[in-house]
Symmetry: none
Subunit: 208 residues, 4 copies
DNA sequence: CATGAATGAGGTTTCATTCAT
DNA sequence: GATGAATGAAACCTCATTCAT
């Protein structure tokens, strides 16, 4: 019953390789088709255009990770609304660390596609995909900062700084996936980075 | 007597605009020339090729900043060699903050070109320019970490983490120039970021 | 069922005309396409580049003639190795003359392409194609000269002269195809030239 | 008093090198000017256009040789008209051989320019310069053949063959200048070639 | 004499995309 | 589902030549 979809898969694999090597803009559909063993016409049967093909390669994993991340932060928001306290860094508690570990696992399972989306997408709608994640993370930090400032009224910070905190956190994950090859090395790295970031956080919000 | 160089400047301005809007690869020399009011031949009188034009727009400022940064770190290296202690973050002392402020001033003076080099250079030799800075900063962090670890033998860290610290610092400056429009807002931001980073640093190297 | 290949043939015909009139270097692909009634893109569907197009026009016939010529000389070499005597000029015997006549026939069948390869190929890998033929002919003359010198030990000649004999023979065929329009006039011409060349040969190797 | 003409000479030398290396068509005036240390404007002060520059490099020597050759054949024509017999090959008598030796000397004195005119002139009015010489030589052979045919009425030949004889003789000199580097090797070569050609000639006109 | 600037036309090549079959 | 042919626009670049200064 299972439709073959062989050609489509060949195309996606070939595209993955080409995007990975040359980036979206320099990638050639001709080359992709040649390496997939089909002609350009075939490509246009399965995909609307070059963008659509890119989407097929990297779109799913990106949206997947994005959704998980949003759900995660949504959860926290609800908890705060319900009056439950929460900890400054999403990752400090065991529970949070487990959630994080799962995201990391997902990222490494599809590492090549994640890298394509993060570093080879210039020219596509994903070229600023990191900003999607940052915006979501920012809400989290905003929330946390408000809590902290309620407790320490003398501390003040501004939106630019909060946004940077979010940026910094996301960038750490991007650094991880781009610079650390093996998943087993990633978790220790993240742990140390979280230690650093938490110390930084308290250095700002619990001065002296 | 003043040499005009009108056409050359027109071309550079037009190129700056085009690179800024479309990035290096999608930028069209035809368009640049048209907007500069000259023919393509004229462009090739002043510039060897598209790369050379890009260099004329963004090369100087990048090399300028890079040189200042290297000189700065070289200076610190020398101080350490002479046995003079130095502070964990290059920016904490007044003296260092002044040096930093001057770099920031330079960056904002040529902000558009800096942005082009940092974010619109895919396809040129500058496409990984941030890594140049990171490598330089890394040596600085390496040095500082060695000092810290001599004082606290129980602390241990690895090269990946040191590299990330450097990455993180450079990324902060890139964040600044890309996200903060006015120079007057930049310095306060950097000060707060430095506070954060120093707290993070001590959180790692002076635990408990 | 007959595959059309109309466009490809149009392109080749148009290219033949253009190369013929202007030579390889001055030939314009734009003009070739215009005269073929297609866009430049079409050309690049059928041919890799300008060189490939030239090859499609003149490559086959040149290699064809070259192969026949080599086979011919190979044959003679074998005969000498087997101890069979052979005559000073390949063309003197009836058998040889027939082989020559067939080569000539081939050349005139594709005369325009042969002329292109011989006289309009500057800038291509065929620009020294005559030398290919000369080198092959030279081996033949070398062989013959060795036989002659074994019989007449007092005669001596040098490599430069042998090479010139080969050059001269090939040049005679080039002269023929470039200066004599009709195949029917070619054979008598070659016959007379051969008479001349044989007399010259004996003048050198059988003095007095 | 002698005007320097330094720039002009620099340009000619530079052009000689460029034409020699790339041929007329691929030679770049920009490169020539750069290597001569002047700008393109200067070139156009001394030379009308690219063709004129080529003329300055190779024109004189070509016309010089051409004139000497014509004078030589003119002389012979006069002698025949005056009823003085003459020998089948212009080169056989000592007197003729001396004239030939002087032409060869001239050719080797300016060998690079001669080679440029003969082999690097495609695209200029000299691209068929060999034909000029051939046409002149042809008159000579025509004359000689008429004398021979008057003596041996049964011999008959046609214009095509006569033209080829001329072609062949000129081609021998071209072979010499292109293939033999040292003048001292040229004269022996020519002597042997003349022996060959004379034997060929008699083989045609004094059969049996 | 010579410069430096600029023209303008043309060069080859690449590309994503379309469509009749 | 897939092919093969073709489009058409645009890409970067090179060139001989001109001309005001």
């Amino acid at each position: 019953m299972e439709k073959d979809k062989e050609t489509r898969n060949h195309l996606i694999q070939s595209a993955r390789k080409e995007f990975s090597e040359k980036g979206y803009m320099k990638a050639s559909l001709r080359t992709i088709c040649k390496n997939a063993g089909v002609t350009t016409g075939a490509l246009y049967f399965f995909f609307k255009d070059k963008d659509d093909l890119f989407d097929a390669v990297a779109g799913d994993i990106i949206h997947g990770i994005y959704d998980v991340m949003q759900a995660h932060f949504q959860d926290e928001k609800r908890m705060v609304a319900e009056g439950k306290g929460f900890t400054p860094s999403a990752e400090e508690s065991t529970e949070h660390m487990e959630a994080t570990a799962q995201v990391i696992h997902q990222m490494y399972l599809h590492r090549e596609d994640v890298l394509i989306a993060l570093t080879k997408s210039q020219g596509t709608k994903y070229e600023n995909v990191a900003d999607w994640f940052i915006e979501t993370a920012e809400k989290h930090y905003r929330l946390m900062a408000d809590v902290m400032m309620k407790q320490n009224p003398e501390v003040k910070t501004d939106d630019k700084f909060i946004h940077w905190l979010a940026h910094q956190q996301i960038d750490t994950f991007i650094y991880m996936i781009t610079h650390i090859d093996k998943e087993k090395d990633a978790l220790p790295f993240i742990r140390q980075a979280v230690t650093y970031m938490m110390a930084g956080w308290y250095g700002i919000f619990l001065p002296r």
